[in-house]
Amino acid sequence: MVKERKIVCRCEDLTEEEIVHAIEEGYSDLESLKRYTGATTGACQGKGCLMHIVRILSQKTGKSPDEIGITTQRPPVNPVPLYILSEGDVE
């Protein structure tokens, strides 16, 4: 029988089960969960997965999405190739 695998983070190839396991290991605040699993740190930077991660965390811990919050949003908004950045001006 094929085991049901619900992918919640496509960039890092993480399943719902893996996120639940990490929460049970004690990585139960969003910033720690992000770092321990790698969720929200791949190419999408959370655009595709953050809400899934917040939902799972909310279901597991009973905290509301508001209490959980979101991860610190870091630039750039979308990936930018280094050759483009290197064209910028600096003092």
Binding site: E31, T72, R74, P75, P76, P81, L82, L85, V90, E91
Partner: protein, 360 residues
Amino acid sequence: MKVGVVGAGVMGLSTAYFLSKSGIDVTVFEQKYLLYGASGRNSGGVSPMVDREELIPFALESLRLYDTLPSEVNFNFLFRKNGYIKLASDEGDAEKIREGVSVLRRFGISSKVISPEEVKEIIPDFNPDSAVLASYCREGGVIFPWPVVWGLARGCRENGVEIRTEARVEKIERNGSRFTVHVNGEKYEFDFVVNSAGAWSNEVSRMVGIEQNNMIIKEEVCVTESIKPYINPYIYDITSGLYVTQTARGEIIGGITGKSVDRIDTSSTVEFAVRYAKGVTRMIPKLKGLAMLRQWAGVYDEGRDGLPVVGFTEIDGFVQANGLGKHRGMMIAPALGKELAKLIERGENSAIKKFDPQRF
């Protein structure tokens, strides 16, 4: 004996770990979450090629601890030992590179001066015109700072240490021969308080009336998308301050050595992104097609004379464990924590006398 540790970075947790190994009762307070501070924001370069001779024994002992601790605490630190390269891009720094190698040799550490062309043999896409001289040491490489912190935290908890997160210390009161530490409206009593708060150490010292004046340094770092293993050693240009390597996950991680700031600031700047992109694509031109995914900033502290501040203060029982400085927190913290634990247990430890907070 009860010890309170303020700051759950690699320095605070190492100290807590070695104290708890001797059966001492330790509580660690972290103002936010594990990895919030500099121990969670650095690029993980570790090597005996540290720029102050006084620190070489601690870098060596820390490398040894990075080998033995993972099995002790049952956590893989993802230590990739592919060596460490220092580059100089002007003649003055080339002389520092030569001196650095002769100092390491005196310590019996194998390292060598190499030409930019020889760097290219180690990193095929390296641009030899981007440096005038280099040094290479096979010891060291890149450690992943996150599992180091998680692993030390796990080892601490196994030994009975309580680690309180989201626990910002608000006040420290002297109470006879003990301290009362106020956190989230609760009070804790300790015989010793260890200040391992990194960039926040000046603030913690002020709570007991000590004006510490460690330098606060802000540094910016970034990662690109992941690619297959490509850059093996850790590379640090001592002239420009630019450093780069590849993480265990395949991201190209790098940054530029920070500058002293007046206050704590972890904002990211476009200026950094541009300077880094210019520098790293000159050093390794093929990286130009890779996209930067994420940039961030961190803050850490350095003792006023460039050396760590570790040991007893004029206030009996208040202990400093901070000021570790540029390019070396991860390199020296485990060994410093171990020696500091000995100092607290025995009341004296000549091994860390050079870092005495009362030297200023």
